[in-house]
Amino acid sequence: MAESRSHTRTDARAATEVQLQDGWRVVVLNDPVNLMSYVVMVFKKVLGFAEAHVFTLQQWHLTAVLEPDEAR
């Protein structure tokens, strides 16, 4: 008598994909009240300038340049 057997095989596979979170933009809205000189002062104070970062790096004798961010 022939013997029959059934086999169950479980093949579990898991994959993890790592993604960078989308970047965030800061949007400052125009308004008719704030003076241009005030806005410029706040931007300088809060955001600084990329040029300043480059300059500081160069002061530390690292080669740094400012170029457009083509990834965006």
Binding site: V33, L35, S37, Y38, M41
Partner: protein, 153 residues
């Protein structure tokens, strides 16, 4: 410490100071520039706005401290690196509040250019607009003379 002293005309500025005091009370519980913070959860949003409000009130207190008893005898206000930054911010808060509450009738374009016929304004609006210009002048003075001190450059 760099210090800028400005002599003001008491009869002109006194009514503006009264208005500044009124506006300061209005601003105790609301932000001059309400922020859209839809992406923050409710607790975080509450804390965020609370901190902004606390800062706004502190700035307004700094501005009002310029107009103490001594001011009403000598008519001089003084800016230095300690009070300049909060005062510049307070001026903006008050200007935003003036636009929203007292100067709606003038329209944004007039406020931006400053091109307003004073003769055609009623007394309340005239005082509000003079206060708006006075606060801008204070900002300009501070930015012009104390900019590098404020920025710490």
């Amino acid at each position: 410490m760099k210090r800028v002293e400005v002599k003001l005309s008491l009869p002109v500025v006194a009514p503006l100071v009264d208005l500044i005091r009124e506006l300061t009370i209005d601003l105790e519980r609301s932000l001059a520039a309400p922020q859209a913070l839809h992406d923050l959860d409710q607790d975080f949003r509450g804390a965020w706005i609370g901190e902004l409000l606390e800062g706004q009130n502190g700035d307004l207190r700094s501005l009002l401290s310029l107009f103490d008893g001594e001011f009403f005898t000598v008519g001089v206000i003084a800016f230095d690196e300690k009070n300049a930054e909060p005062i510049v911010r307070a001026c903006t808060a008050l200007r935003l509040k003036l636009r929203e509450s007292r100067l709606k009738a003038l329209g944004d374009e007039s406020l931006e250019t400053g091109d307003v016929e004073m003769e055609g304004l009623d007394e309340t609006t005239k005082t509000a607009f003079m206060c708006y210009l006075f606060l801008a002048t204070v900002q300009e003075l501070i930015i012009q003379h104390l900019d590098s001190t404020i920025l710490g450059l």
